[in-house]
Chain length 325, copies 2
């Protein structure tokens, strides 16, 4: 009862920012992402009759505490689905997501865990079922089931049965690139989870954010379909600014941006003024991801590398969805 799966992380172009149900991880808005080739997690799940509790090894180190509990709680959902409540597993995960790049490894992590876990326990889920399950481990992970562009449809039901990701366009549809800009200081005072919660509960801008999402989603899907890079990039950039603006109006206000974050944003806008189409997006942290076209890779990398406070620039292409090894 053993299986291994690999999943890539993804970068949201239309951000997931707020839960309507904390336990089921049901979002207040739909979101859209690009799965990335360069960053992935490989996970082996082995259910064994003789175990009395789960074991979780991350990069060959045993993990306990909160991270262990999230994994074990997620396996509980799988066990319940399979009707095998007393069957525990060893989980071996390997992260090829450099921490400094500022990607949440939970996206690739829970997608790989869901795929390996369900296969190991003997279930055969289609992608939609797998995405719905994955969502309950990590919201953004629900999109990593698919390669290329995927949309997590928020759904409307209270049991979460209609909240899962669907494919928008595969990786091979459009080769756009993402540069992960690594900053020398990446201190984050408010976790994504806490920041999201505080914003939903206190920001007077939150309803404006929610109201603006359907148009952003509709327009970016059109732009992706027609491979309109300028449109895709500007919608993504504006959506990111809007998301971060909601935190500035929270009570107490907060921001994930550092001065270097601002400098990278300025540099990207200057690149555009010089005729290089490049757009930024930022998750709940100080790091910046830059979208660009393959033909501009040299110039974009060089420009980003020379910004004071930037220590590394890691490039990636669109990646594939879940695979079994």
């Amino acid at each position: 009862m053993k299986a291994t799966a690999k999943a890539h992380t993804n970068i949201a172009l239309i951000k997931y920012w707020g839960k309507r149900d904390e336990a089921l991880i049901l979002p207040t808005n739909s979101s859209l992402s690009l799965t990335l080739d360069g960053f992935f997690t490989t996970t082996t799940v082995d259910f064994q009759a003789n175990l009395t509790r789960d074991q979780f090894m991350l990069d060959d180190e045993p993990v306990e505490g909160e991270s262990y509990q999230r994994v074990s709680n997620f396996l509980d959902i799988i066990r319940t689905m399979a009707g095998k409540e007393n069957l525990y597993a060893t989980v071996h995960s390997k992260n090829d997501v450099p921490t400094a790049a500022g990607f949440a490894s939970s996206a690739s992590g829970f997608a790989a865990l869901a795929a390996a876990g369900t296969k190991a326990i003997g279930m055969q889920l289609d992608n939609q079922e797998l995405s719905r399950l994955t969502r309950q481990g990590s919201g953004s992970a629900s999109r990593s089931i698919y390669g290329g562009f995927a949309e997590w449809e928020m759904g409307g039901k209270t049991d979460g049965s209609d909240s899962f990701a669907v494919p928008v366009a595969p990786a091979q549809h459009w080769d756009i690139r993402v540069a992960a800009v690594v900053l020398s200081s990446t201190v984050k005072k408010v976790s994504s989870r806490a920041g999201m919660k505080r914003t939903v509960e206190t920001s007077p801008f939150y309803s404006g954010w929610i109201d603006s999402i359907p148009k952003d989603l509709r327009e970016i899907k059109d732009a992706i379909k027609t491979k309109d890079f300028e449109k895709t990039g500007s919608i993504a950039e504006a959506n990111c600014l809007k998301m971060h603006a909601t935190t500035l109006a929270a009570n107490p206000p907060f921001t994930y941006w550092h001065d270097t974050t601002m400098r990278v944003m300025q540099t990207v806008q200057e690149m555009r003024e010089k005729g290089i189409p490049a757009y930024f997006t930022i998750d709940a942290g100080p790091n910046v991801k830059v979208l660009y076209l393959p033909e501009d890779e040299g110039k974009v990398k060089e420009t980003l590398r020379t910004i004071p406070g930037v220590t590394d620039v890691i490039l990636s292409k669109p990646g594939q969805g879940i695979s079994y090894l």
Copy 2:
């Protein structure tokens, strides 16, 4: 028919951000400011029967173009009020508002012009009438009629008759200080006027901004009354962040912040973590103003001066309202 008046600029603690009537300069929200001792304009208006048009000298240099037109249009309002439509004036203004400090000289400028102009033409207006008139030259100038803390009540009438500033507390009520932090780069791509307009017309956060103002105003007036510096500062800082957040959601999005702006904000928050009560506020530009208490002046000035990208720190106390020389 000659008079000289002096008016100080002011810094808004609850921001004026949006007009409901562009011609009459009627705001979409009430605002509150502190008049500052260190920055002022002195203006002499001399109505002379032999002139065929107005003349405007700023710091001994003749001014034409848009700035001239704003002054002459404002004198038209005074002439109409006085029933002396064909009487032109020479206007001599001297600005003691360092441009680099990033204060709008229009606040002190139009307050001094209104006071000198009405006195020179023979009218005697009370402060409320003077503020209502001043508002039509520059919205924020309506608050500079008063010393100390003043509130510009937005009013509700379409003719603007109930839109003017009122005193909240005089300068001698509370000696809190303001440091104007001068940045090496102060390029501003979007004017305040254009930025305000774009935000009102396109930002999905604008109604959230408007809805949040009455509570901010009520609470900051309480805090000023009881001299609660922590409360006054945090409300002002949060209000500034909210105002700037509205621009990030405009279409197209924009910001007045530079990387150094962000660094100064971070430094102020770090000062607080070290036990120095200091709070920032930022108008429609990259410069930062820092509120602090007199006993912390040395530490605050030194800390701000050593931030990379900061070229000067100019200190000010609460200032007086209009005076006639």
